[in-house]
Symmetry: C3
Subunit: 160 residues, 3 copies
């Protein structure tokens, strides 16, 4: 295990296309027997949220921000041409047609291949989230120094 | 050739500023005698499209998405302040004034310096494109495992 | 000094969340005794501007673009949900509440930890800026070949 080459990706975007790209690279690397870590931060945390609207957000400002920033892996918008969902609907259709996995499927595959899924502790509160808002596929919560520890040992580092 | 240091860049954005940054880094690295690969995916594929509207898109949903996502290297918008073309016009004017090459010129220079231009097979269909939509400057089409093969050998890896 | 591991980050975004992520990673790496360089380009240059509106922009087109692209580290918008400032106000509130440093504080810490702050010469003019628009915390101005020189020696390279 210690001798495997490492690939570490920061997923700071919650856009459907950017998140898809992250999982395509991560799952391909894991299938090539690399040791892969996905580190989700800022909007990327939306991918890991259990539900759309966080009723348990401790304070009113977080509730407001959580309402603005409704997430969940089924609801990620496109980074362009979201257009109230029309563009995103079209791309989801094309993803299905061309057998590109949905984010839900990609997370499942990632777990099967041993990809580590980490949520950034530093930005959880800032995004209006709390620890128990995350799906069980999250391996752990960690901060920037844990990220850098992995990154400094990795052959491929990306920020998406 | 095998001993040259490698630089590999994923170009996932089709925004004028991000694409300019990609070519500035790629062409500078190639001028420094590095082995450079640009791997275009998602909106980045717009840079490599022959024409704005893809009449040959095989199916109606692709035609619709292709109509939304009109591309071509002369038509890339800014990531900010595109403002129906006004901001983009201003930046193109300033790029010319400060002798920053246009994308068309940057692609020409890239080819002269031996930069490899690769289009991502996984996302071609999803973006409403077909193989013969691309400009002849594209060296080849390849998937995520080909990308990772390059990336794992590279000194500099970027995702733009 | 020469033996320290290097971390080099291109900051091409001027969005509050992306710039925060850049400084969190940079300052954490510097605190771990790494040799860190932040290379600001395109919208990232907004972080380093003295004032919002550049009255000294030499030509009218630059003045116009500078007016569109009003910057300064206190005025960075969010990449999403800026919503005329409402979303950005909410996140700034949450950043304060969760003791995430403001950009002004993050720059101060970066300087104390020895992080190098470099402004990209190639894009200064294109962004409607001039050399004396920058805050004194900028260590130097440099181009893409200087960036690549650093990047080729770095253990971690990111483009944000």
């Amino acid at each position: 295990m210690a001798n495997k080459e490492k690939v570490t990706i920061v997923v700071s975007s919650g856009d459907l296309d950017k998140v898809s790209a992250s999982f395509i690279i991560a799952n391909t690397a894991a299938a090539m027997d690399k040791d892969v870590t996905l580190f989700f931060t800022f909007w990327g945390l939306n991918v890991l949220r259990k539900s759309a609207f966080n009723l348990r957000a401790p304070k009113i400002i977080q509730k407001l921000f959580s309402l603005l920033n409704r997430g969940g892996k089924e609801r990620l918008p496109l980074s362009k041409f979201h257009m109230f969902g029309i563009g995103t609907f079209l791309m989801k259709y094309l993803m299905k047609k061309y057998r590109m996995p949905s984010i839900t499927e990609a997370i499942k595959t990632a777990k099967e291949l041993g990809v580590k899924i980490i949520a950034c502790t530093t930005t959880i509160g800032v995004m209006g989230l709390a620890k128990d808002d995350f799906i069980p596929e999250v391996d752990s919560l960690a901060g920037a120094s844990a990220y850098l520890g992995e990154a400094l040992e990795s052959k491929v580092n990306l920020f998406i």
